[in-house]
């Protein structure tokens, strides 16, 4: 192959291209249209996606809000013939330069584009229900360590995606009503199925890694949603992939809500005269369990703030330690005499 330096440059180019494709996201992929899509197709795709990810419909959902911004950015460029042709040839960078060198007057801002298409405000639901593919729900056991400190899992997702195929197929079929004249002034109402012609499609298997982030303090039953990573749907949108969290059993600790429970065993001597003892917490920090006083069997001590973190706040639950006391199996007569003397 070429010189090592040329190779390196080529690699950097490819990697940046990939990153540009990923990080900045290809506008055509964001709007889910092909590069050769007509303006009408782009407009329709934008309408569908903008409605779905609009902040009013997804209050507090960061992922949806991020996508909404991406969708609007993509449409701003692809809906403008000049910007689109610059993007096709020079990518996002080209469009940015064109804008900064005083391209066409200012361009429209997000609100304008949206209002133009939807006539100001989203009062009610849009007519057509968009068919959605099946959802896939996976129960995920999370270790107590991951739920305490946060963690992530790399999951391999293999599914089918819709790809273009040669030829045409029927699509967007609907029943149309029309009137046929069967005599003077007499009409009969008929229905007929009318379909459009669309490019043919086929399914192809594709696999990729998904990073599932387990956040500190997540509760059992909480779901992590991956939009449209479920089952595909022809002429519709793919279903979602959901991971349902479940706390995995732990060797030492038991979780109850935001509290942790554990049991330690001490000897009779320690119970009577006091002791020093530490246990390792989930992130390996030590908790002092000892005392100078007397510990009754099955006594429970609360250690405030040593429980599980709460999911959305900085508060922490508590750790409850139960002390089991080991009694000797038997005592010699001599021991009994001495003990009686001390404890009477």
């Amino acid at each position: 192959m070429a010189l090592p330096r040329t190779r390196l440059l080529l690699l950097v180019f490819l990697v940046s291209h990939v990153f540009a494709a990923f990080g900045g996201k290809n506008y055509y992929d964001v709007l889910q249209v092909s590069k050769g899509a007509s303006e009408e197709q782009i407009k329709r795709a934008y309408r569908k996606l903008a409605l779905k990810y609009h902040p009013d419909k997804n209050p507090g959902n960061e992922e949806a809000n991020k996508r909404f911004t991406e969708i609007n950015n993509a449409y701003e460029v692809l809906s403008d013939r000049e910007k689109r042709s610059i993007y096709d040839r020079y990518g996002e960078e080209g469009v940015k330069q064109h804008a900064s060198s005083g391209g066409r007057g200012g361009g429209m801002n997000i609100q304008d584009i949206f209002n133009n298409l939807f006539g100001g405000g989203m009062a009610e639901e849009e007519e057509e229900a968009i068919p959605k593919g099946d959802d896939v729900v996976v129960e995920l056991d999370a270790t107590l360590e991951d739920l305490y400190m946060g963690g992530s899992l790399k999951v391999w997702r293999e599914k089918n995606v819709i790809k273009p195929a040669p030829g045409k197929r029927r699509c967007n079929c609907r029943n149309e009503v029309y009137h046929r004249q069967i005599g003077p002034g007499m009409f009969q109402q008929m229905t007929e199925q009318v379909c459009e012609q669309c490019p043919n499609v086929k399914f192809e298997r594709e696999g990729y890694f998904i990073t599932v982030d387990i956040e500190k303090g997540m509760q059992d039953g909480q779901e992590l949603l991956f939009y449209e990573d479920g089952e595909p749907k022809v002429d519709g949108e793919a279903g979602d992939l959901k991971f349902r969290i479940r706390t995995a059993p732990h060797e030492h600790f038991r979780r109850e809500g935001n509290d942790l429970h554990t049991t330690v065993t001490i000897s009779l001597v320690q119970a009577l005269v006091g002791f020093e003892k530490t246990i390792k917490h989930l992130d390996e920090h030590l908790v002092e369990l000892g005392t100078k006083g007397i510990t009754k069997p099955k006594a429970v001590r609360k250690f405030k703030g040593e429980g599980m973190p709460s999911h959305l706040s900085t508060r922490k639950g508590d750790l409850y330690v139960t002390y089991e006391v080991l009694f000797p199996k038997s005592l010699t007569e001599d021991q009994k005499t001495k003990i009686k003397a001390i404890l009477s």
């Binding site: 593919g133 099946d134 996976v138 995920l140 963690g151 089918n160 594709e206 890694f209 022809v234």
Partner: protein, 215 residues
């Protein structure tokens, strides 16, 4: 974007060291990732390319339990099965599965177990394979022994395997015998005691959980 990914993959093949964790352009060659407990998979019949499938439709004969069929389409979530160990086993999520292990397959949507017993299958009169029980109800009729075809030791995606029912000795089997009325277009899945090419299945699409201990 696909082209740049393909070029990048080609570049990787030319032996340049890069961080992993990016997207692979297509499924890996002959065998894929390891299958671990907790993974949710689709099982594809090698002979007919149909997928193991169940739905809330009972058999009209035999046990009358929920039916299990071979399904032609690839986009239905009723073809997903969760890979589970035997009850009370020490195995946990993320453990790999050796050839010869007894496993259970739980239908994702209805929570029932892939099951077989001494009833006749509706079309061919072999052993009936049904879907039975629930999250808290399972018996030895749900036990299937994994038999990997070839020299593989642990179960991997796209690997040729057989599933042998422990109680009856029947291999999970399918063939080109289709239902005509209810479940039209779907084909029969049954248990057959002899080893035959039509007992071969492989794990296809799914959500594959990573091996525990690796992140």
């Amino acid at each position: 974007m696909a082209i740049s990914l393909l070029a990048l993959a080609a570049f990787l093949l030319l032996g340049l060291d890069l961080e992993e964790g990016s997207v692979f352009p297509a499924a890996a060659a002959p065998e894929g990732v390891e299958i671990t407990y907790g993974s949710v998979i689709k099982l594809m019949h090698e002979g007919t390319k149909f997928r193991l499938h169940s739905h809330e439709v009972p058999y009209g004969s035999g046990s009358g339990q929920q039916s299990v069929t071979g399904f032609p389409n690839v986009d239905d979530s009723n073809s997903y099965w969760i890979v589970r160990p035997m009850p009370d086993s020490a195995a946990k999520q993320g453990d790999v599965i050796q050839s010869g292990t007894i496993i259970r397959l739980q239908h994702m949507r209805t929570r029932r177990w892939l099951h077989s017993h001494l009833h006749a299958s509706p079309i061919s009169g072999n052993l009936e394979v049904s879907c039975f029980g629930g999250d808290n109800e399972s018996d030895t009729g749900d036990f299937w022994r994994l038999e990997i075809e070839g020299s593989g030791k642990t179960w991997k995606q796209d690997q040729r395997i057989r599933l042998r029912h422990v109680d009856t000795g029947g291999y999970l089997h399918s063939h080109d015998r289709k239902y005509t009325r209810i479940a039209g277009g779907q084909q029969e899945v049954c248990g057959v005691r002899d080893k035959r090419p039509d007992n071969i299945w492989s794990a296809a699409e799914g959500v594959y959980l990573p091996i525990s201990g690796s992140k």
